[in-house]
């Protein structure tokens, strides 16, 4: 079972990306997809949206998956495996989660063969400047990523601004593979899949 973490701040476009990614993986690669959604509020919304698109979703509410909810992850994964036996499990952590902590939990799970795919962090191009200056966990989200996605590129017309964002990202994470996407307009989703699965 492959495991894909798609982290990103609130409003970065995680749910929209996962909907599109899941559709592509099912239609073009014939994969069975399971999804785990972690909302820090108790009113789950992303899970309802994804279920309305016919996806297999398990919810983890009430706390952040990288800290207080981490203990529940192995059970949730096993439930998902037993119910759907997915090829790929996609985790949408809460907007404040640090994926490196989730990775530690995954490594500690016994009796479950998990192949962790490159960690993806998603950022809203229009908000990245403010967020990286103001919120320390944004830096952790960049650091823990193998692939950094700059989303909503359709709303940014200045190529110099985009170049500067890339430089900012590489200052924090030199080895990050940066891909420009628009999840809403389905731009470069195929490029992301190639980088994830080959």
């Amino acid at each position: 079972m492959q495991f894909l973490i798609i982290s990103g701040f609130f409003g970065s476009g995680k749910t929209t990306l996962i909907l599109e990614l899941a559709r592509e993986l099912v239609v073009k690669r014939g994969k069975k997809i399971g999804i785990i959604v972690n909302d820090i509020g108790e009113v789950g919304i992303d899970d309802k949206v994804m279920k309305s698109y016919g996806l297999n979703v398990k919810e983890m509410f009430g706390g952040c998956i990288c800290c207080e909810m981490a203990v529940n992850l192995p059970t949730t994964l096993k439930t998902l495996r037993d119910a759907y036996n997915p090829d790929i499990v996609i985790l949408e952590p809460s907007g404040i989660a640090d994926a490196s902590n989730v990775n530690k939990v995954l490594k500690s799970i016994e009796n479950l063969e998990i192949d962790v795919l490159p960690v993806v962090s998603l950022f809203d191009a229009t908000q990245f400047d403010l967020l990286i200056e103001s919120l320390p966990f944004i830096i952790a989200q960049v650091k823990s990523a193998d692939i950094v996605l700059i989303n909503k590129i359709d709303t940014v017309l200045d190529p110099y601004y985009m170049k500067r964002l890339e430089e900012e990202i590489h200052k924090v994470n030199k080895g990050a593979n940066v891909i420009h996407i628009s999840a809403l307009h389905k731009l470069n989703i195929d490029k992301l899949i190639k980088n994830l699965l080959g």
Binding site: V43, V49, G62
Partner: protein, 137 residues
Amino acid sequence: MKILDLPSIFAAEMNLEFSEARTIGEIREFFHEFLVQLFEVSSVDNRLVGHIKVYSEGQNGTSIRANLTGSIRNLMVIANGDGEERGLRVWINVITHMVKEEELVGRVTNAIRKFTANQKEIVKSFSLSLSNTHRNK
């Protein structure tokens, strides 16, 4: 602009009963205006560091996904279905790093009450149930 380290969260479920059956277009317009009101009370200087997420379902197959992050120009309402609805179940989640949680909960609750009262030609009745197990004091 002051940014709080921890997010403040408003989470609630709402049941809406319309005064008469509403088309998908009318429902889409209703949620557009609803998110504008939520943005007004949860943003600072017309900016929202966080998100507003609303999801809604009706008994005749209507589903609404409404999001907003950053600025009002990012408001998005996706409506699916082609039937009419007499009522909707609505889930609301507002997260911000700009307003303290107690204040956010008060502001958003008041905004919802005012909005539904101002829409009395559309809304016959509503009930709001706040989720209060999460709190960042």
